[in-house]
Amino acid sequence: MIEEPRIGVFICHCGVNIGGVINVPEVTEYASKLPRVTYAEHSLYTCSEAGLAAIRKAVAEHSLNRVVVASCTPRTHEPLFRETVKEAGLNPYLFEMANIRDQCSWVHMHEPGKATEKAKDLVRMAVAKAALLEPQTEPEVEVKDASLVIGAGVAGMTAALSMANQGFKVYLIEREKEPGGIVRRLYKLYPTLARSSEVVGPLAKAVKSHRNIELMTSTTLKEASGYVGNFNVILATPNGDKEANVGTIIVACGALNYRPPQGLYQYKVLDKVVTQEELDGILRRDDLGKPERIVMIQCVGARKGEIRPSALEAFPRSDTAELLRKILKARKEEGWPYCSRICCMNAIKNAILVKENSPKTDVVILYGDLRVYKEYEDFYKRARDLEVRFVRHIEEVPPEIAQTPEGKINVAAYDALSGLEVNFKTDWVVLSTPLRPRRGEVLLARMLKVPIGTDGFLMEAHLKLRPVDTNVDGVFISGTVSGPKDVSESIISGEAAAARASILMANRKVRTDAITALVDEDLCIGCGLCEEICPYGAPKIEAGKSKIREILCRGCGSCAAECLRRAITMRHFGDHQILEQVKALLVPTG
C-alpha cells in the first residue's frame, strides 16, 4: 500500500496564454483546499528555470510525494516536468498534468468565468488521479552495437557504409547474387546521365571490402525475433542458415517496376511495346538503332484506380502481410493509385539519350501532368531543346495501340491542348510504369511487425516527422521500401536511417516507456485474444497465461480493452485511476 499522498499543485499563467483568461490565483486558492493537497502555488512560467526550481524547492520543504502541474499540454512538456520531479528525488511517474491551456484558456477565450470553473474541474480531476499514482520503472535494455541491413541497393549500401564507418558491425544481406538493387539494372541516371555503374560500382566495392561489413548475397531474412537493442535474426544463406544478434534493423529492400498485364497497350503482344525499364536495357545494349519515331506513354499503371482507406480498416492491423497480398492482387490489373514520382524524369532521360544518339529520331512523350519537380525543370528544357515533343493527352481516353499494315505501330490519342485527335505512326512504344511494393515485404512486415500503408509500401512512424523510423523501436526504413524515390533521395534516406540507428547503438542503452500492460494471472485464462490483437507482438501465451514482454509493449491499451476477463490493466492508466478521475468530475465535493 502506498504512503499517504502529499500532493503539490503548481498552476501556470503561461504568460498571458492562461493568465489572460483564467483567474489563476482563484484556481490556486481552490486547489489548495482540495483533499490531500498539501501545497499549491502559481507561477508565470512553470516551465521556466525559475518555475522548475520552485517545484524542487516545494517538494523538499513540504515533503511532497505527488506533483500536479496545471499548464499546457503533456505532449510538449510532460518529459520536462517528469525530469524535474525526478531531480526533486521522486519517481517521475508520481506526476500528473492538467492541460488548462489548450483545453481551457485557448478554447474558451471569450468566457473567462466559465473557463476558470472548468480549470478548477480539470485540476480537481488531476489531483484525484495523482492520489492513486504509483511509482513506475522504465525498463532499460542493452543495445548490441551491430545492425542488420536488409537489401543491398543504393539505400541499403549507403546505410551500411555510414554505420560501418562509425565503427558498428553491419550484416548486409541481399536477395540477389550481386549488390546494386534495381539501380544496377538501369543504364544511365538523371540528371547527370552518369552510368548507374558509376554509382553502384564504388558503393559495392566499398561494402565488399569494409572490415565492419559482412555482405551476404543470395541471402534473405528467415526469422526475426526480439526487440530494440537485441534482435535475433536467422538469415537463409546459400550455405545454410546463419544466426545473428543485432541492436537495430534497417529495411531497405526496395521496390519493383510495375509490369502491365499482357495486352494493356499491346504489351507482350507487339514486341516493340516495352517498358522504360526494358528500354534502359535496350539502350545499354545499344540495340535501338536509329528508329524514325518513339512514342512514350506516361503513368501506365500509375495514378489509376483508388484505394479507399475505409475498405482497408476492416483488416486487423496485425495482419499487414495479408493486406499487402490483397493490395498487390487487386493492383496487378488496375494499376496503382499513387504518382510514382520518378517516371517523368526517367522518360525525359531516355528521350535525351535517344536524341543524343540519333537526333533524327522523333521522340514523342504523351503525358498528363509533367512532374519534373525541383531543378529537373532544366532537364525538361534540355529535352525540349533537343526537339523532343511533349504532348499532353487526355488521360481519361487511353491511347489506342494498333499494328499497321506496313508493320509499324499506330498510336491514336487525344491532344488535350488542341482538342485534336492525333495519330502517331511509330516504331517503338515505351510505357512509363510506376515503382510498386515487393511481395517480399510480406514476410518482412509480418516478422518485424512493421505496418504497411494503403499504398502497399512500409509505413513510417509518422509521415511528417519520422520518415525513416517505424513504429517498431529499433527498426528503420530507407529507400523505395517506403515509396518511390530517385537515386539521390534513396541515398539521403540511407544516410538518415543510418543516423537514426546509430544513435541507439552509440548510446549502448535504451530506456522504453514504463506505461505497459499488466496481466493479473489469476484472472487470465490464456485465451490468446491479446496475442492476436497486439500490433507489436508483446503478449505471448506461456503455460496457459499471457506474458507481456514489456520491451515490446507500447502501452496502446488495445489488449486491456479487448481482454474479456478484464485481466489486463495498463500501468499508470489503471481502471481505478481513470474511474477516480471521472468520479472527481461528477462529484465536485470529491
Partner: protein
C-alpha cells in the same frame, strides 16, 4: 573529449540535424539568425496529410532542442567567419543584442503588454502588429523577449514592469568563437515577391495575397484569429482562386527562378481543403500549369480534394488580374482549357503561390564558408546524385531547402536533416569515443 559540430539554421531541418547529432553524442551549436528557432514550419497552419497543427507537432522538437544537454542554442546570432578545415573549423558567431538578459527573462510577456510602441509582425507576414519588445510567437524557443530598437521609443516602461529585471538596453553585440569538427547548413528559403510581376497586382490590389499570408490568416494564432476573411473589407470570401507558379518555372532574366519550387501544388491543395473545412460552401479554384502532386499520399489527396471537397482544378496560367473598384472583387483573365478561349471570372480573394527562393544573405554565408552555390543561388551538392548532402568543402554539409527545392516538404527536410547528421557521424563518429 566530446566532439563539437555546428548547425546553421534552426528550421525543421536544422532542428532534426541538431537533435540527431546531440543524441548521437556530439556537442551541437545551433546558430539561428532569428530570435527563435522554428523556421517556416512554425508559421504554417496545418500540415498535410494528418492535418496536424504544424506548430503543435513542431514545438516538442523545439523544446527538446532547448532542454537537450548537448545542444547550445545561439539564437539571434549569425556566423561571421569560418577558418580551418574538416575536423577543426574555427567559427566566429556574432550574437546580436536582444537588449534582454536571456538568463533572467522568463518570457512572461508583461513588458509587451505595457509597451506603447508597435511594429508590423514579421511572423504574421506583416499583417498584424507586434510590440517593440516582443516574442516572435507564443511557442518561441527560447522563451525570451527581444527589443526591436528600430521601433523602440526608449520610454523605459518595460524596465519598470519586468518582474525578472531582465531588460538590458546597454547590451552590446557579442562575438563568440567556437571550434567544431563539422558544419551543416540549413538556412531554408525566402518567398519571391510577387509585386515584381505587376499584372497580378500584388501590393496594389488588396485582395491579392500570398500563400504564406493565407497560412497565417487560417492559423488560430494568426492576425485574424483563424477566421478566413479578406483584407479589403473583412468579409468571408466565397469564391477563391489559387494561382500557381508565380515566379517559379520562370526563366525571364528579371525573375530567373527556372526551377519548380516543388511544394506549391501540394500546399495549395492542402490550403484549398482547409478552406473548405473552414467554410464548406466556398468555391475554390486552383489554376495550375502541371499539377505536381508527387510524393507519398499526395495523388490520393488530390483525388479526394476533387471528389470529396469539390475543389476545382483549371489547367491555365492566368495572364492578369484586374479589380472591380466598387466591390474590390478581382477579375482573373485566363484561358478556359475546355473551350480554349479567353475568359474572365470574378473572385473574392486570389492567393498567389510564389516561388521559394534562396535566403537573403546566403551569398555572404557561402563566401564565409567557402562553399559553392548553384545557378539559382542555392547551396550546391558536391554530386547531385551520389553526394547530395555534401558541399564542395569536406566537413561542410547542407540540408533542407537551402539545398534548393529538393522536393522541400517537411518529411524531406527531416530526412535530409537526419542525413547530414549521418554524414557527420560517419566522418567524426569513428574517431570519437562515444
Amino acid at each position: 573529449m566530446q566532439k563539437a559540430v555546428m548547425v546553421i539554421g534552426g528550421g525543421i531541418a536544422g532542428i532534426q540535424a541538431s537533435l540527431d547529432l546531440a543524441n548521437r553524442g556530439f556537442k551541437v551549436h545551433l546558430v539561428e539568425k532569428d530570435p527563435s528557432i522554428g523556421g517556416r514550419m512554425a508559421q504554417l497552419d496545418k500540415t498535410f496529410p494528418t492535418m496536424d497543427c504544424s506548430i503543435c507537432i513542431l514545438a516538442p522538437k523545439m523544446i527538446e532542442c532547448a532542454h537537450n544537454r548537448n545542444v547550445q542554442l545561439l539564437t539571434y546570432s549569425e556566423v561571421k567567419d569560418v577558418k580551418g578545415s574538416i575536423g577543426s573549423f574555427k567559427v566566429k558567431v556574432l550574437r546580436k543584442p536582444r537588449y534582454v538578459d536571456e538568463s533572467k527573462c522568463n518570457g512572461c510577456g508583461i513588458c509587451a503588454q505595457n509597451c506603447p510602441s508597435e511594429a508590423p509582425n514579421e511572423f504574421d507576414e506583416n499583417m498584424g502588429m507586434r510590440k517593440a519588445i516582443y516574442m516572435p510567437f507564443p511557442q518561441a524557443v527560447p522563451r525570451v523577449m527581444v527589443i526591436d530598437k528600430d521601433s523602440c521609443i526608449e520610454c523605459g516602461l518595460c524596465d519598470k514592469v519586468c518582474p525578472a529585471d531582465a531588460i538590458d538596453r546597454e547590451q552590446q553585440p557579442e562575438e563568440v568563437e567556437l571550434n567544431v569538427g563539422a558544419i551543416t547548413v540549413a538556412t531554408g528559403f525566402d518567398m519571391f515577391d510577387p509585386s515584381v510581376i505587376p499584372q497580378y497586382g500584388y501590393g496594389r490590389l488588396k485582395n491579392v495575397i500570398t500563400a504564406m499570408e493565407l497560412e497565417r490568416i487560417l492559423c488560430a494564432s494568426g492576425p485574424t484569429g483563424g477566421h478566413l476573411i479578406r483584407p479589403s473589407d473583412g468579409r468571408i470570401p466565397r469564391n477563391i482562386a489559387f494561382i500557381q507558379c508565380i515566379g517559379s518555372r520562370d526563366r525571364r532574366e528579371w525573375i530567373n527562378h527556372p526551377y519548380c519550387s516543388s511544394i506549391c501544388c501540394k500546399y495549395a491543395v492542402k490550403d484549398a481543403v482547409l478552406i473548405k473545412e473552414h467554410e464548406p460552401n466556398t468555391v475554390v479554384t486552383i489554376f495550375y500549369i502541371d499539377l505536381r502532386a508527387f510524393g507519398r499520399g499526395f495523388q490520393e489527396f488530390v483525388n479526394r480534394a476533387k471528389s470529396e471537397f469539390g475543389i476545382r482544378f483549371t489547367r491555365s496560367s492566368p495572364g492578369e488580374i484586374s479589380e472591380d473598384p466598387s466591390t474590390s472583387n478581382l477579375v482573373v483573365w485566363f484561358e478556359d482549357p475546355t473551350t480554349r478561349t479567353v475568359h474572365h471570372n470574378s473572385f473574392d480573394l486570389v492567393v498567389l503561390c510564389p516561388a521559394l527562393i534562396p535566403r537573403k544573405g546566403v551569398g555572404e554565408l557561402a563566401k564565409i564558408l567557402g562553399v559553392e552555390l548553384d545557378n539559382y543561388g542555392f547551396f550546391k551538392s558536391a554530386d547531385s546524385v551520389r553526394k547530395p548532402l555534401d558541399t564542395n568543402i569536406p566537413g561542410i554539409f547542407a540540408c533542407g531547402y537551402c539545398l534548393g527545392p529538393k522536393t522541400g516538404d517537411v518529411p524531406d527536410s527531416i530526412t535530409q536533416g537526419s542525413g547530414t547528421a549521418g554524414r557527420i557521424a560517419e566522418i567524426l563518429g569513428a574517431r570519437e569515443a562515444s
